[in-house]
Symmetry: C2
Subunit: 507 residues, 2 copies
């Protein structure tokens, strides 16, 4: 018998024989009961209420108030089971419901029941994805899923691994590129190397910056390439920057192109970038963390034309495909074992060479992690249930919603698109009546820049919906609306626009 | 209504109005039904059978055979709900049950129902731990949990963050140390810096090696410090290595001491190491990923004496405390914001400076990740249910089991301790009858080194238990037994020793 919580569990104390080591120290029956009760709370509070438009997206509290409401303190004694269940309710209640049909705040949203079950199985089995011995099913499954993603890119062979997030996938790419060019640097460090130059557009994800700093390359050695009015990298400027770096004695070893920039959803021109990388011998990485899932759509995959020429790709199915955080694939065209050679340390306590099965199945040395969560099952199970065609429909639906919203915005007074969307990022300003027609006034943009934060504060406090905003270059704060959740309907989007009007009309 | 799986879901097709965008594309009721059914499968197959000694730890199959049994292929069309549920059963059935009372293969094991519920809530809420806006409860909770861990170290203030694994915590430490000493290097890279020297013992975790390579420092710049016969760093040799590095023109910026080495469970002498770090101005990091949890035990925390003098600590509650993968705290003594300054990129789309709440609550820029999983809830909920005292009891119990096993091993013929355990790693050889008394023979050690792999293969194929083995320096393959799971009893450990005898007696 398991004993969960001495003194509290089910109101009774277990009588133990004199030697406690002869008895389990967890009450198995009580454990199962707790799991059952907690699961029903999860279903009721997080799944059912979380997806109900009649409920708030978040019952917002100021940090100081929330601190008082939640009893967060950790004490010497354990708390009774019923109190622990109340904590579960509270945690769920005061959290943001990212599965709510009116949550549009991030590049992820929604709740896929198959993916969720995949996550729950993963959490219950609680193993680490490093050896076949300890994760036989998941070692095979990860390879099947990665192969499928590589096929969508257009690669017949290759390599890859799931990473804890797209930032690390991008940083891995930079490290593998460095290793491929200067394999000795793994041993010697980079002191003897020429200054390494990284190329990426102004609109790239900030993980490129974080990676350059982390890898010892330094953010000064990032050459930011200019973008056009749609946020796409200008190939001519990339070439200019590469030549500039060369003339400064630096080695242009790594070019990052983005498919689906974070704010505007722009796709860099991959074919042109690939040509330049080839000409200058630079590693060609594509950060498709956000835009990669468009590869599933026969109608929209042209956005990523040329991606098959990349040396590596970062792609996060946890965003548009709704697998749940985190599911981030780092994919390589190389099939010579470069990734393993770059990251391996050959720990003898884990990757024994005298095992009774083929060592190639122990994939854990491809990463800089040791223990690594299983990230493939949630995507695999969802794919099994929906098929490639089911996922394609979701992707197409997201594009259709973006089109719908863009057209609605054009019809409505006071709404103004920042740019015509090519992907599913819909960027727009709401101009309140007090500012309409005053674009010529001196402080127009300054005042407009305060509108989105004010509306955001109101919607958060009301709990009616959530959407992100940000400035971009010279453009003052604007909303970025993203719809990936399949439960969202036109009615929700109409509500969304109406609500912005309601909340912002007096500003 | 949600539609899960067109054509399969519950045997009927939904009639849609002409505009599919006016209807949700997921069937909410079917989704809930699937969750309910799948949860009962998880409970039955993974929790109940997974913890049942009458069941196998793993129904082992060769990779090629398992590939045939599992239908892993991802196809164009989705599969019917019942088939998807069968997949769930298969995935669980052929996976290793790390919660089984006879699973001793890793530094993690067992299943805590409270921690599991914490993980399930986390997965259902599916948010990212970067801003208060999107994770209000978890931003506050992470700080409470980190503070508690810091208090156990002996720090009244400080900083920290949960990382995806102890390897990254160690690598963060190295990066923060570099930044603290050479803040410009974040911008300029490390070319202009003196050669950076890292000091760690021969017995350290391989993430130090991976980190030095990844950060551009290079593995050649790791000075391996000698250890005594118990696997503890020799302070005199550390000083010697530091002086050697200095004489070679290198900058000794980072010393890693290990609390609980992976194989032997050795604790480096922290007080002596702290003195040397102080004298030479080096950052003092303690990798307590494995041994940190001994801080919860009043009886055993002396093993980490001096840890309060560290500049940073890595501590993985997912190991000994059974929170589930991954729960890895990177903790700093600094409270000036060093971690944030080191890793920040100040992305304006996420960390807006014109928010309506205090920006200090947006902790996501302390990491090199962007999206980051919530890792605090599972530990918090388990702590709430058990109290510090409940966790202490688990730690003490693990020590008691190790004592029990060590004494049993001394009583049994053919079993030989590698060293007397000071922590909960129990390292031993099994000497089969054919080798007993032949220690003088020429090929004795070579033959003994083949015993553990052979027994391991047999136990895996039988499914009766799992335990790790490895060589270490000149020592040939030996078993490393670790008991952290509170459901384990003396009877399981007696079985463990008996089974090794049974499986190895004819070798």
């Amino acid at each position: 018998m398991w004993r969960i919580n001495e003194g509290h569990s089910r109101g009774k104390r277990l009588t133990m024989a004199e030697d406690p080591l002869s008895h389990p120290a967890l009450d198995k029956m009580a454990g199962e009961e707790f799991l059952q009760e907690a699961f029903q709370i999860i279903l009721e509070e997080a799944v059912r209420k979380g997806t109900d438009v009649a409920e708030k997206v978040c019952d917002w509290r100021e940090p100081q108030d929330l601190q008082k409401i939640l009893d967060l303190e950790l004490r010497s004694s354990g708390e009774p089971q019923q109190r622990v269940l109340e904590h579960c309710r509270d945690v769920i209640h005061y959290s943001v419901k990212t599965c709510h049909p009116r949550f549009f705040n991030q590049l992820f949203s929604g709740l896929d029941p198959h993916a969720l079950v995949g996550r729950m199985i993963t959490e219950t089995l609680n193993t680490s994805q490093y050896t076949y011995e300890i994760a036989p099913v998941f070692v095979l499954m990860e390879e099947v899923v990665l192969k499928k993603l590589r096929e969508l890119i257009g690669w017949g062979s290759g390599d890859g691994i799931f990473c804890p997030g797209g930032s690390l996938s991008n940083i891995y790419a930079m490290n593998v590129a460095r290793y491929q060019r200067f394999p000795d640097s793994k041993r010697t460090g980079i002191w003897a190397l020429p200054r390494l130059a990284v190329f990426t557009s102004q609109e790239c994800h900030y993980s490129i910056q974080k990676g350059a700093a982390f890898l010892g390359i330094g953010t000064d050695n990032i050459y930011l390439v200019g973008v056009d009015e749609r946020g796409k990298m200008i190939p001519a400027d990339l070439e200019k920057q590469i030549n500039k770096a060369k003339s400064e004695g630096a080695c242009p070893f790594f070019v990052n192109a983005t498919c689906g920039t974070t704010v505007l959803g722009a796709f860099d021109p991959l074919v042109d970038v690939a040509d330049l990388c080839e000409r200058h011998g630079a590693w060609f990485h594509v950060d498709a963390a956000w835009g990669g899932s468009a590869l599933l759509s026969r109608r929209h995959r042209h956005l990523l034309r040329g991606i098959e020429r990349a040396d590596s790709v970062a792609w996060n199915p946890h965003k548009m495909l709704m697998t749940g955080l985190q599911c981030s694939a780092f994919l390589l065209r190389d099939s010579s074992g470069l990734l393993q050679r770059c990251h391996c340390a050959n720990a003898t306590y884990l990757f024994q060479t005298d095992k009774f099965y083929e060592m190639a199945y122990d994939t854990g040395d491809k990463t800089i992690q040791c223990g690594r969560k299983v990230d493939c099952l949630k995507l695999w199970l969802m794919w099994k249930a929906n098929g490639t065609e089911g996922l394609e429909k979701r992707v197409d639906r997201a594009f259709e919603f973006t089109r719908y919203l863009a057209e609605e915005i054009k019809k409505r007074e006071g709404f103004q698109l920042v740019i015509e969307p090519e992907f599913i990022n819909l960027c727009f300003w709401f101009v309140p009546p007090s500012l309409r027609g005053k674009q010529g006034c001196a402080n127009y943009w300054e005042r407009l820049g305060k509108v989105a934060p004010a509306i955001k504060e109101r919607m958060m406090k009301k709990g009616s919906m959530m959407v992100g905003y940000q400035p971009l270059g010279s453009k003052v704060n604007f909303f970025r609306q993203v719809v990936t959740n399949p439960v969202v309907t036109k009615q929700d989007l109409d509500f969304f626009l109406d609500e912005i009007e309601r909340l912002g009309t007096d500003l």
